[in-house]
């Protein structure tokens, strides 16, 4: 007889609160539903009460982890609306900062994955080593998170030769961490045992539900906005779009692990080819009209839509975050999965919200609640 299992909304163990309603028969999930809204802050309305320049800090606070890419996507869209040409140096600097962000975001994801797989040692090691990226970002931008490095027309802080040297040193120190993560994911690795064959999202279903980013690339589709619709200086930098075919949690992990090497490659190239010049262009005036901008956030495609009425305050800002697109992939992946794997599956898309290690089971017939630990 089917039972309903609630995961969340509170008892947040990791990041954010959200509620999943799973219909379970025996130990197998047969249907899943998602309830959102515990993090709702009315941001799109707030966008229309501030000036373009002030909004950039608001865009940053949509998500504290991929904060930089939000400001970049917003700034690029506004730049198109204002007809600003960003200096070449700023474009390269943007690539460097954004790839550093991808590194810290992917490492954080591995830390959280280790946590949800109960690999405490790996969790501490990954999170500990990740501090190197955070320290570097703090040194470069002035804040560990929400660093507001992008601005309309360019970037706010330059990379001097000393800073470039520090970045190169840190990248060298980070390579062993990526190697360590790869070793966890190889055939006998600790992660492989618990994630292989779990939460499979087949290629066709991934397309149907509109998955983006590493979730889509883990299902065998080479889709990356940095290649498809290059922004900043990505068209001049050489990197590979990582694809894995299995579609399970391990494939998504492998995509991210291999992407950390690509990010390091991009940063090194950008540092080598950094052109001289200004880092910020003069701001312009917004024309009446509308613009759409998209970027590749660590979690996938991020889309901004901005409509301007010619004043200094936008008329409408619409944001489509990658986690929103991937939520439907979670529901797809949960169906047919064993209950104990639910947490790893939910974590696998790197959702911007947390799950829990405890769920309440409601007996569908009697309405009786019982609480179990989700391992």
């Amino acid at each position: 007889m089917p039972e309903t299992v609630y995961i969340g909304p509170y008892r947040p163990q990791l990041v954010e609160p959200e509620r999943f309603e799973l219909l379970v028969e025996g130990n197998i999930i047969i249907d899943a539903r998602l309830e959102l809204g515990y993090m709702h802050r009315g941001i799109e309305k707030l966008f229309t009460t501030r000036t373009y320049a002030q909004n950039i800090a608001l865009a940053e606070r949509i998500c504290g982890i991929c904060s930089g890419i939000h400001t970049l996507c917003y700034a690029q869209t506004v730049e198109r609306l204002m007809g600003i040409d960003v200096p070449e140096r700023a474009k390269y600097l943007r690539c460097i900062y954004m790839e550093l962000e991808r590194l810290h975001s992917h490492y954080l994801w591995f830390g959280i994955l280790a946590h949800s797989l109960h690999e405490h040692e790996a969790f501490l090691k990954i999170m500990g080593e990740r501090e190197r990226v955070q320290d570097l970002l703090e040194y470069l931008t002035g804040n560990r998170m929400n660093y507001l490095i992008n601005t309309i027309g360019g970037v706010r802080r330059d990379i001097t030769p000393e800073k470039a040297e520090k970045i190169r040193r840190t990248l060298k120190e980070l390579k062993p961490l990526s190697d360590y993560i790869m070793s966890l994911l190889d055939d006998n690795g600790a992660f492989t045992k618990k994630t292989k064959g779990v939460g499979v999202l087949p290629r066709e279903r991934a397309l149907d539900v509109g998955a983006v980013g590493p979730t889509l690339r883990g299902s065998g589709i080479a889709s990356d906005i940095r290649k498809e619709d290059p922004y900043a200086a990505y068209d001049k930098l050489d990197f590979q779009v990582i694809v894995e075919r299995d579609g399970d949690v391990r494939a998504k992990a492998l995509v991210r692990a291999r992407e950390t090497y690509e990010s390091m490659k991009i940063i090194e190239q950008a540092l080598d080819n950094l052109p001289p010049g200004d880092i910020v262009a003069k701001p312009g005036e917004p024309k009446v009209g509308e613009e759409v901008g998209r970027t590749e956030a660590p979690r996938g495609e991020l889309v901004y839509y901005i409509r301007s009425n010619g004043t200094n305050i936008p008329e409408r800002v619409k944001v489509r975050t990658p986690s929103y697109a991937n939520n439907f992939a979670i529901l797809e992946m949960l169906k047919g999965e064993r209950l104990e794997n639910a947490r790893a599956v939910i974590e696998s898309i790197d959702p911007c919200f947390a799950c829990t290690d405890r769920v309440t089971i409601v007996d569908a017939k009697t309405g009786r609640r019982r609480i179990i630990a989700l391992r």
Binding site: P9, Y10, R11, P12, Q13, L14, V15, E16, P17, G37, Y38, M39, H40, R41, G42, I43, K45, L46, T49, R50, A53, Q54, I56, A57, L58, E60, R61, I62, C63, G64, I65, S67, L108, G111, L124, M127, G128, R130, E131, Q134, D135, E138, Y139, T141, G142, N143, R144, M145, N146, L148, R156, R157, C352, F353, A354, T356, D357, R358
Partner: protein, 298 residues
């Protein structure tokens, strides 16, 4: 106090603070040495760490969680959203800040606070001293921490308040003084005020250890004298701003005007209302004619 078990609760923030709290578990911050553990069920906890400004949906859950945790029920609000809702202050679903809903004992300002700040705050609350030998306890050059006014340079123009991304800066006019006040508990630490200040008077320092038990105290302010209108006697603009503007006109922008400094100054000392009276308009026009004659040479 017995063992400290911390339970984390987040509603309507950006989750940056939550990640930084998670980061505190890393061995280098020595949170474990203080005898603290992070638990995953509220019934096991006796300390609640809050992040986020709490929205409509989170309110009930917050009350429930607070009921569940064990005495002494110490509540620590981490991050500026948990202090004042920060940038989401005017968001329609927001019902916080949390201290409107449950009692909050301590506040840790920051956006997000560094893990170092959170660890130090917890150590302070427990009354333990932590050794800070390593480099990372010191914030790097260019860090955006607590604000500082250069009282000599600040002229009270209020540019910072206009460009502020989080409405954290207030300009309050008294009878003869103007107060420019930064509430760093409401600040997003974006440092746009520092970039835009015409006299480089406001600066974000490397100070990040800002824990407090009263969120009304998270203020940094500067006072400037206001100037009285030479016609009606009411105060309307800071003295220093007039000096700055005059200097800018007569030395930087149009050096040829320097011989009219006194006339320009007396025109500037008339308040907005009095400037519109007939007599003063005539005088202003006369001055403008002389100024344009000087520049154009006729």
């Amino acid at each position: 106090m017995a063992k400290i078990s911390v339970y984390r609760f987040l509603s309507a923030g950006c989750n940056g603070c939550d990640v930084e709290i998670l980061e505190c578990l890393v061995p280098r911050y020595k949170l474990a040495d203080l005898g603290i553990e992070v638990v995953e069920r509220p019934e096991e906890a006796n300390v609640l760490i809050l992040t986020g400004g709490v929205n409509v949906k989170g309110k009930e859950e917050l009350l429930k969680t607070y009921e569940t945790i064990n005495p002494p029920k110490i509540v620590i609000a981490v991050g500026n959203c948990a202090l004042t809702k920060e940038i989401f202050d005017k968001g329609y679903p927001m019902v916080g800040p949390p201290d409107q809903i449950i009692p909050v004992n301590y506040y840790v300002p920051g956006c997000p606070p560094r893990p170092q700040a959170i660890v130090k705050a917890v150590a302070d609350i427990l009354g333990v001293k932590i050794e800070e030998k390593e480099d990372y306890w010191l914030a790097p050059e260019g860090f955006r921490g607590k604000h500082e006014f250069d009282r000599e340079k600040c002229m009270g123009c209020g540019t910072c308040a206009q460009v502020c991304t989080a409405d954290a800066i207030d300009v309050i006019d008294g009878p003869d003084k103007r107060i420019v006040r930064v509430n760093y508990g409401h600040c997003s630490f974006c440092a746009v005020c520092q970039d835009e200040c015409p006299t480089q008077a406001i600066r974000l320092t490397r100070e990040y250890h800002l824990v407090t038990n009263n969120r009304q105290t998270t203020m940094v302010s500067n006072e400037v004298d206001l100037l009285s209108c030479s016609v009606c006697g009411g105060t309307f603009i800071p003295e220093k701003q007039i000096d700055w503007a005059l200097k800018r006109i007569t030395t930087e922008k149009v050096p040829a005007y320097s011989e009219f400094s006194n006339e320009i100054l007396s025109a500037m000392k008339i308040c907005m209302v009095c400037r519109r009276s007939i007599k003063n308009i005539r005088e202003a026009k006369r001055l403008l004619t002389r100024l344009s004659e000087k520049v154009r040479g006729f």
